[in-house]
């Protein structure tokens, strides 16, 4: 009993240190992050590394959005592959088949995906319990089947080729390096916007819903509305990433948007740390790199994922970032425990 209280105190002290650290340095971190984005392609000349980093970037956008839903509002979606895929397919079909201009199409895709998410989310979020998980799971399977079966529009299981790259004036984003800047600019802004949201009235309301839905409601938070809105927002993040993916790779197929991808992004949220924006970036980075490394033994990929998720949940339930931080602070913890026990 005594030991537990001591641990609780120390734990909260560590978290306070962290939140202090993050708040004060947050803008500095964002600045360093922007600098890294500018400098990395100047140093890294290997195209494959840049490709992997671009995939990390696309996943980061999805995971940051998903973390707003899971980590902050405490609602779980297993359908983000579908929203990612909707962004990709809407951009692909509308720009290639119907020759719509790519940039407005990204916006159209986001709005369309957000609308669909609203109709999936609203009824299931009104119910108590984890109905959103079931609704999104079913929805993503339906979307994946449509991608395969509507082969006149989507190209079916063999995929959809020939998607035009994005361009601004004469600048065409037709190689990995140019796309690096494009994708990571969007990553930067999705992180920035998420920080804005989290440190505001809405962000607090979302975390309050996670903490105690009934208390949040009696304090004036329209919990149904906020849950639905954050779900729509996170679907739109995924749609944006999907559109960028389609224009970058210029070829998409249903396999990239199957149920496995939904699991992957949820895993990234958990490994990175629920409720941590930077954690989303680490989670996406770590697991994308891992799956690249595990490519040599593809059939063990999923086993490794499971093993890593289990290990993280057992040893770092707060996420890898926070977990490693507290390990690093161990000596501090020890001194603090001594001090508090002396009192």
């Amino acid at each position: 009993m005594e030991k537990q209280t001591g641990y609780k105190e120390v734990n909260s002290i560590v978290i306070q240190f962290m939140s202090f650290f993050i708040r004060k340095k947050e803008n500095l971190f964002l600045l360093l992050f922007a600098l890294a984005i500018i400098l990395i392609p100047l140093g890294v000349k290997n195209k494959y590394y840049i490709l992997v980093m671009n995939v990390v970037g696309l996943n980061t956008i999805v995971v940051v959005g998903l973390n707003l839903l899971i980590g902050f509002a405490g609602q779980i979606s297993l359908g983000h592959a579908a929203f990612y895929g909707m962004g990709a397919y809407l951009s692909a079909v509308l720009t290639t088949t119907y020759h719509l201009p790519p940039w407005p199409t990204i916006l159209i895709a986001m709005i369309a995906t957000g609308t669909v998410a609203y109709f999936v989310g609203y009824p299931s979020l009104k119910l108590k319990g984890h109905y959103l998980v079931m609704a999104t799971l079913g929805f993503s399977i339906i979307v994946n089947i449509l991608m395969v079966e509507l082969d006149k529009i989507t190209g079916g299981p063999s995929g959809f080729p020939g998607i035009p790259p994005l361009s601004i004036g004469k600048l065409v984003f037709d190689n990995d390096f140019k796309n690096f800047y494009l994708i990571w600019t969007f990553v930067f802004f999705s992180i920035l916007l998420s920080f804005n949201l989290v440190h505001s009235r809405v962000g607090r309301a979302l975390r309050a819903i996670h903490g105690s839905e009934i208390a949040a409601n009696t304090l004036g938070v329209d919990t149904d509305k906020y849950k639905t809105k954050v779900f729509v927002l996170s679907a739109m993040f995924a749609s944006l990433a999907g559109s960028l993916y389609a224009h970058y790779i210029t070829f998409i197929s249903p396999r990239s948007f199957d149920f496995y991808y939904s699991i992957q992004v949820v895993t990234m949220v958990i490994v990175g740390g629920m409720g941590s924006i930077w954690g989303s970036f680490f989670g996406a980075g770590l697991l994308t790199l891992l799956s690249e490394i595990l490519h040599v033994a593809e059939k063990y990929n999923i086993i490794a994922y499971g093993a890593i998720l289990t290990l993280v949940l057992v040893f770092f339930p707060e996420g890898v970032g926070a977990g490693l931080y507290s390990v690093w602070q161990r000596w501090k913890i020890k001194t603090l425990t001594k001090e508090s026990s002396n009192k």
Partner: protein, 261 residues
């Protein structure tokens, strides 16, 4: 005949023949009551008398099976909890419902939700409006914590507080929304004698600031000390009401608590 029906204007909150059944269980049966503005009204009664059910009905957690709840003359029984909060009723919970994932200051800042406006888009863009609001919310949060003597720990996680402090934080959070009526569900349950005294002082201080208080409590010393009026429930029915001394002398109340002698 019924004093409530004679002069309803006087009451900030009125329950009008309110009943609530859960399945076959009758939790509240035809309860009419009035809460006077700027008074402390205590609801007492043996376990299972329907006290918490009454608070849940008033705050919109579930609607009454029949009857009406009126706040400042307007019906609120159809409203959801968040809408009732915007009307000016906040509450605390018997089993604490703090946001354990948030700091003490942040808990109180959520309490300021009804007094602020920023929505998703302006928050995402962090418009100057949001920035101003954040500053005000932070200052206001600190001043409420100062009032409740919790400011020293503003940046601590709420779960790191002692039990008594957690009870105070729930009150701070409910107070942050500038309520007209505050409902306290067993505010001194589990508190030490000294903490109970402090809580009584605090509640009287809140009343002085113009907030009407309705509380549910088992600690009779505390109830008799702070209340202006007491309503006694038993088996979902109102069996008595009046000043503390009137209720203490009422034979039906004595019977309900002690059984027939």
């Amino acid at each position: 005949m019924n004093p409530i029906e004679r002069n309803p204007k006087e009451f900030i909150l009125r329950g009008d023949h309110v009943s609530k059944t859960f399945g076959g269980v009758l939790a509240l049966h035809d309860v009419s009551l009035g809460i006077k503005g700027n008074e402390i009204t205590a609801i007492i009664g043996p376990n299972g008398a329907g006290k918490t059910t009454l608070l849940n009905l008033i705050t919109g957690i579930y609607p009454p099976t029949s009857g009406k709840v009126l706040f400042q003359g307007e019906g609120i029984s159809e409203l959801k909890p968040f809408q009732i909060a915007f009307r000016g009723i906040t509450r605390t919970f018997q089993n604490l419902q703090l946001f354990q994932n948030m700091t003490i200051l942040e808990n109180v800042m959520v309490g300021l939700h009804t007094r602020t406006q920023s929505e998703f888009l302006s928050c995402l863009a962090y418009l100057p409006k949001v920035r101003r609001e954040e500053k005000i919310v932070k200052e206001e949060g600190h001043s409420i914590l100062r009032f409740l003597n919790l400011e020293r720990k503003a940046d601590w996680l709420s779960s790191s507080l002692s039990y008594g402090e957690q009870r105070r934080l729930e009150i701070a959070r409910a107070l942050a929304g500038n309520p007209k009526l505050m409902l306290l569900d067993e505010p001194v349950a589990g508190l030490s004698g000294k903490e109970t005294e402090e809580m009584a002082e605090l509640i009287l201080k809140i009343k002085e600031n113009g907030v009407t208080i309705m509380l549910v409590e088992h600690d009779m010393n505390f109830v008799m000390g702070v209340s202006d009026k007491i309503i006694v429930l038993n088996y979902g029915q109102k069996i008595s009401e009046g000043t503390p001394s009137e209720v203490q002398r009422d034979p039906t109340v004595i019977k309900a608590y002690l059984g027939e002698g």
